[in-house]
C-alpha cells in the first residue's frame, strides 16, 4: 500500500478574471518590496561594507582563517556535531512522539509534559540544569563517583557531553511538528493495513513514516542547523570541544573581525542551503497525502510483543527522567543563595527568597517584560501569517521557476548572523530612505520587532511548507467549485488545516526571541528596554556578584511566561483548532462529490 498518489488538478485560474486577481498582484508587489528592502539590499550592503576595504575587495579573511587551526577545528567540530545530531535527535524525537501519541503507553500525559519541557527550558539555563545533574558536583556524578572511584568529577565535558545535552534539548520541534503529523494520521488506512495482515512494524514503515516524510525532511534540516549553530551547549559543557557559533558572535562584535564572522557564517549558511535544496528536490517528487477520503483520528496502538512493550515503557520513563531532572534542579537552585549556587549544593541552609523578592517587587521589571512579550509576540504572529501566504503561493506554483526563487530569498537570514542583519538594516536605512517611504530605522520603535520577524522567516517558511504537503488539495478545489472566493477558501479551509502548525510556530518563535539580548542591545528604543536588557542590567557578572542567582530566578520566571504563552497559544488554540478542523473535514467530504460531478 503506497500512500503517495497524485491527483490531477483542474485549472481554475483560467476562469478568474484580471480584476479578481488584483489583490494577488498587490501581494506580489508587496513580496517584491519586502524581499528587496529587508532581505537583499541591507545584507548586500553589510557584506560590501565588510569585504570592501578602501575601495577594493579584501579577502584576507580567508587567509587569516586558514592559518588558524582553532577556527578550522571549530568548523570541523560544528559539522561533526551537525551530522551526528541529525541521527540522535531524530531517533529520540521520533521515539518520544510515538510513545506519547501513537503507541499506547501508560502515563503518556505525564510523559508528554516531560518531553515538552524543552519548549520553555532551553539555551544556557538548560545547560546549567544538566550541569547540576552531571557536572562536577552534580547528583549523577556523585552517584557515579561512589560506584567508580576512578572517575574524574569533571567527566561530563567535550563532544559526548555536548551531544548528550543537545540530543535531548533539540527535540522540541519533534514534539511540536511531528506530533501534529502523527495526530493527523488516518486511522482507517492503518486499520485496513492491519486487517490485511501487516505487522506493527510494517504499518510504521509503509504507512506512518511515508505520510510523515515532509515533516521528517524539515526536522532533518532543522536538527542539522541546530548542530551547526550550536551555541549554549559547547560554551557550557563543551570544554575543549569548541564550535563555530560562539566564535561568530565574538567576531561580529568586533568591527575589524567582522569579515571573519561573515565568512564563517556564510560557510555554515551555505551548508544549510545545500542540504535544503537537496531535500526540497526529493520532497517535490512525491505527494504525501494520505489516500483516505474520510479521515478518522488515530486510535493508539497497543504494542503486541510483551517484551517490546516493557522495553518501550522503560525507555520512555528513563528519557522522561533525563528530561525532567535538570529542570527540577534549576527550579530548586533558584531558591538557593550565592553560596549554594557557586558550590552547586542544594541545602536548606542556603535557602532564600530574597532573589525572587528583588525581582518580583521591583516595578521596573514589568515594563521590559511587557515590551518583550509585545515585540516577540507581534513578530511571531506576523512572521507566521506572512509565511503562510508565501508558502501558499509557492505551493500553488510549484512548477514555476519564479516561485522557487522567491522561496529561496526567504532563507537568506540563515546565511548571516542576526547581529549582522541588524547592522545591515542600520547601515542601509540610517538616513530616511525611499525604500521605506522616507523613514529611517535609527531610533524607531519597530526596527527591533521587524528584525525579530526577519530572523523568524526561514524556519517558519520551512515548517509551513512541510504542513502544506499534508493538506488535501481536494478540499480547496471543492471550496472553489462551490463558489467561494480564494480569500474565503483560504480563511475557511486552508488556515484551519494549517492551524496546529501555525500556532506551534507562533509559540516557538515567540519563545525564541522573548529573552533576546544581542539584538536588543543593538536596536532597542531608549524608552522601551526589553527584558534581555533588564536582565543584564540586574545580573551583570562584572558588577553584581549575585548575578548567577538573579539569572536563575529570571530564567524560572521566563519559563513560566513561556509556559503560559505556550498553553494559551498552542495548547488551547490547537485543541479548539482540531475540533474546527474536523468540522471542516466533514463539510469537505459532503461537498466534494458535488464538485466532482
Amino acid at each position: 500500500m503506497k500512500a503517495t498518489v497524485s491527483i490531477p488538478k483542474k485549472e481554475w485560474n483560467k476562469e478568474t478574471t484580471f480584476f479578481s486577481k488584483i489583490p494577488f498582484y498587490l501581494f506580489c508587489l508587496f513580496i517584491l518590496w519586502f524581499v528587496v528592502t529587508f532581505l537583499l539590499f541591507p545584507n548586500i550592503n553589510v557584506l560590501r561594507d565588510i569585504f570592501w576595504v578602501d575601495g577594493q575587495l579584501s579577502l584576507s579573511a580567508f587567509q587569516r582563517l586558514s592559518s588558524s587551526s582553532r577556527a578550522i577545528q571549530s568548523i570541523i567540530n560544528s559539522f561533526l556535531l551537525a551530522f551526528v545530531l541529525v541521527i540522535t535527535v531524530n531517533l529520540v524525537g521520533t521515539f518520544i512522539v510515538l510513545v506519547t501519541e501513537y503507541f499506547e503507553v501508560k502515563g503518556s500525559n505525564f510523559l508528554r509534559i516531560g518531553f515538552m519541557s524543552t519548549f520553555v527550558f532551553s539555551g544556557m539555563v538548560l545547560n546549567n540544569g544538566y550541569l547540576y545533574v552531571y557536572g562536577q558536583n552534580g547528583i549523577i556524578t556523585k552517584v557515579l563517583t561512589s560506584l567508580f572511584p576512578n572517575l574524574t568529577p569533571g567527566w561530563f565535558t567535550g563532544f559526548p557531553a555536548v551531544l548528550f545535552v543537545m540530543t535531548f534539548a533539540c527535540t522540541t520541534n519533534h514534539m511540536l511538528f511531528l506530533r501534529n503529523g502523527v495526530k493527523g494520521l488516518d486511522n482507517n488506512t492503518i486499520e485496513a493495513a492491519k486487517n490485511l495482515g501487516s505487522s506493527q512494524w510494517q504499518v510504521l514503515k509503509d504507512i506512518v513514516f511515508p505520510t510523515l516524510f515532509p515533516i521528517m525532511i524539515t526536522l532533518v534540516i532543522m536538527s542539522f542547523q541546530m548542530g551547526l549553530g550550536a551555541m549554549a551547549a559547547p560554551i557550557m559543557v563543551g570544554g575543549k570541544f569548541e564550535t563555530i557559533s560562539p566564535m561568530i558572535l565574538n567576531f561580529t562584535q568586533r568591527p575589524q573581525s567582522r569579515d571573519i564572522a561573515a565568512l564563517l557564517s556564510l560557510i555554515l549558511g551555505a551548508a544549510q542551503v545545500v542540504l535544503l535544496v537537496v531535500m526540497t528536490r526529493n520532497e517535490k517528487k512525491g505527494n504525501y497525502m494520505s489516500i483516505s477520503k474520510t479521515k478518522t483520528r488515530v486510535t493508539k496502538q497497543k504494542i503486541g510483543n510483551p517484551i517490546a512493550n516493557t522495553l518501550v515503557h522503560a525507555i520512555a520513563y528513563l528519557l522522561c527522567f533525563i528530561y525532567l531532572l535538570p529542570l527540577v534542579l534549576v527550579i530548586l537552585f533558584s531558591f538557593m543563595n550565592l553560596q549554594g549556587i557557586s558550590r552547586s549544593v542544594l541545602s536548606l541552609e542556603y535557602f532564600t527568597l530574597e532573589n525572587y523578592q528583588q525581582i518580583l517587587f521591583n516595578r521596573n521589571s514589568y515594563g521590559p517584560l511587557m515590551t518583550s512579550i509585545g515585540y516577540a509576540g507581534l513578530a511571531a504572529v506576523f512572521a507566521v501569517l506572512f509565511m503562510i501566504l508565501i508558502a501558499r503561493i509557492v505551493m500553488k506554483n510549484k512548477k514555476k521557476k519564479i516561485a522557487e526563487i522567491t522561496e529561496y530569498f526567504f532563507y537568506i537570514p540563515w546565511l548571516l548572523p542576526s547581529l549582522m542583519i541588524a547592522l545591515g538594516l542600520i547601515l542601509s536605512y540610517g538616513a530616511p530612505s525611499p525604500l521605506l517611504f522616507g523613514n529611517s530605522v535609527i531610533g524607531s520603535l519597530w526596527i527591533l520587532p521587524l528584525t525579530y520577524m526577519i530572523m523568524m522567516l526561514p524556519a517558519t517558511l520551512r515548517y509551513i511548507k512541510g504542513a502544506y504537503y499534508s493538506f488535501d488539495e481536494n478540499l480547496e478545489d471543492a471550496s472553489r467549485i462551490l463558489g467561494s472566493s480564494s480569500i474565503r477558501t483560504f480563511l475557511k479551509i486552508i488556515l484551519p488545516a494549517l492551524l496546529p502548525t501555525a500556532l506551534a510556530l507562533v509559540a516557538l518563535n515567540f519563545n525564541n526571541f522573548l529573552a533576546d539580548y544581542d539584538l536588543s542591545a543593538f536596536l532597542y528604543h531608549p524608552a522601551y528596554p526589553t527584558i534581555g536588557i533588564a536582565i543584564r542590567s540586574n545580573a551583570d557578572s562584572a558588577n553584581n556578584l549575585n548575578a548567577a542567582a538573579i539569572n536563575l530566578v529570571y530564567s524560572v520566571i521566563l519559563m513560566i511566561v513561556g509556559g503560559v504563552m505556550f498553553y494559551l497559544i498552542y495548547g488551547r488554540g490547537s485543541k479548539v483548532g482540531e475540533r474546527r478542523k474536523k468540522v471542516v473535514k466533514e463539510k469537505g467530504i459532503l461537498e466534494k462529490p458535488k464538485g466532482e460531478n
Binding site: A431, N543, R579
Partner: protein, 356 residues
C-alpha cells in the same frame, strides 16, 4: 463552537497588540529625543545594578530630563558606530580610552572643556577635550596568600607559565569579550612593544602570551572563578580594583595584588558628547557633563558603587580597600592611541592563533 479557535487566536493577538500599543502609545509622548532639546539621551555601559536608578533620581533633582540606552561596553560601542549617520545619543560614558579614541577617529565626538577639567591630573587628560576621564580601574594579577607562598609568588605575568607548580593553578581568560579579560593579555603584550614585530609586538611577546594561555586554567561556565580562587583550586587570578572589596567580602578571601616592574594596566572610564552636527544645540549635554563629572557627583557615585574617581577633589571618597590597591600598585605607562590602533587585531590574533 467552530468560532472558538478564532476567538482564542484573536484574544491572544489582541493581548499582544495591546502590549505593543501600550508601548507605542506611551512612546509617542516620549519619543524623538532629538526634537526635544531638553531631554538628554545617555548611552552607557555603566548603568547596571542600580546605577541608572540612582543617576536618574539625582539628575531629575538637578532638573535634567534623562533617557538611557544601557548595554555592555562592546554593544554600546558598536551601536554608536552603527548609528554614525544619525547619532541618537547626546552623551556617552563608561567605556575606556581605547574605545573613546576609536569613536573620536570616526568623528563621533565634539570638543568641550568641562568646568572640572582642572581637577583632573594632567597625565589622565589624554582626550584633547573630546573625552574626559571619570573613574579609574586598575586591572591586576593577584594571588591567594593562603595557598601561594615563598618562591611561588609570581612577580610578573610571565612567571606564571614558567613555574611548574603553578601549572593549571592560575586563571587565564576564557574569552576575550570582556574588557578585564582583554587587559590580562595586554598586561603581557605591552611589555614587548616593537615596531618591527608583527602588529607592533615582538615575537617574544606573542610567545609569552601563547605560553601563558597554554599553561593556565580557563574557568568553564559551570564554575565560578572567585570560588576557585577562594578555595585554592585556582589561587592566582586577575581582577579589577572597583570590584575587589565586595568579592573579598562575599567569597571570604583576601587577595594580594601583584605589582610588576612595568606596573598594572590602569584604564579610565570616560565621558564624551556626541557629534550631532554643527547646528545642534549642545548646551544641555554640556550642562550634564559639568554636573555629572563634578567632584561632588563623582564622590557620591563611587561612594555608592565603588571605584576610584579620577577627579582629585573627589579622590578621598574612594573606599579604603581601593585606596590600598591604588597605593600598592603603580599605573603602567600606556600609549592608548597605539593600543586602540592595534587592539582589535591583537585580540583577533590571540583568538585565532594562540588560544589553545
Amino acid at each position: 463552537m467552530n468560532k472558538k479557535w478564532l476567538l482564542t487566536l484573536m484574544s491572544t493577538t489582541s493581548v499582544l497588540m495591546l502590549a505593543a500599543c501600550a508601548s507605542e502609545g506611551e512612546a509617542d509622548s516620549a519619543t524623538a529625543p532629538e526634537s526635544d532639546s531638553e531631554s538628554i539621551l545617555v548611552y552607557s555601559n555603566s548603568l547596571a545594578d542600580g546605577r541608572q536608578e540612582w543617576l536618574d533620581e539625582k539628575a531629575t533633582e538637578a532638573g535634567f530630563d534623562m533617557q538611557y540606552v544601557e548595554a555592555g561596553g562592546g554593544e554600546i560601542f558598536n551601536r554608536l558606530l552603527a548609528e554614525s549617520s544619525a547619532p541618537q545619543a547626546d552623551v556617552t560614558f563608561g567605556m575606556d580610552e581605547a574605545m573613546f579614541f576609536q569613536l573620536n577617529n570616526e568623528d563621533l565626538l565634539v570638543q568641550y572643556e568641562p568646568s572640572w577639567t582642572n581637577e583632573i591630573p594632567a597625565e589622565a587628560n589624554i582626550g584633547d577635550q573630546y573625552f574626559h576621564p571619570l573613574v579609574e580601574q586598575r586591572i591586576f594579577m593577584m594571588y591567594n596568600p593562603e595557598f601561594i607562598e615563598g618562591d611561588d609568588i609570581p612577580e610578573n605575568w610571565q612567571d606564571l607559565s614558567k613555574n611548574e607548580a603553578l601549572q593549571d593553578k592560575y586563571r587565564i581568560p576564557e574569552n576575550l569579550t570582556s574588557g578585564t579579560n582583554q587587559k590580562s593579555i595586554l598586561s603581557i603584550l605591552l611589555q614587548y612593544v616593537d615596531e618591527s614585530g608583527d602588529l607592533g609586538i615582538a615575537q617574544e611577546g606573542w610567545d609569552e602570551v601563547e605560553a601563558f594561555l597554554a599553561n593556565g586554567y580557563a574557568t568553564p561556565e559551570s564554575e565560578d572563578q572567585l570560588q576557585n580562587f577562594s578555595d585554592g583550586t585556582v589561587p592566582v587570578t586577575f581582577y579589577f580594583s572597583g570590584g575587589l572589596g565586595n568579592a573579598e567580602e562575599e567569597y571570604d578571601f583576601t587577595g594580594v595584588p601583584v605589582n610588576p616592574d612595568q606596573g598594572v594596566v590602569t584604564m579610565r572610564e570616560q565621558i564624551g558628547i556626541l557629534n550631532k552636527g554643527d547646528d545642534h544645540d549642545y548646551s544641555k549635554a554640556e550642562e550634564f557633563v559639568d554636573w555629572f563629572g563634578s567632584a561632588e557627583m563623582q564622590a557620591a557615585f563611587v561612594d555608592e558603587f565603588g571605584g576610584q574617581p579620577v577627579n582629585e577633589v573627589a579622590f578621598e571618597s574612594a573606599s579604603d580597600r581601593i585606596t590600598e590597591i591604588a597605593e600598592t600598585t603603580t599605573p603602567m605607562d600606556i600609549d592608548w592611541n597605539f593600543v586602540q590602533e592595534n587592539l582589535n587585531s591583537w585580540m583577533e590574533k590571540v583568538e585565532l592563533e594562540l588560544m589553545p
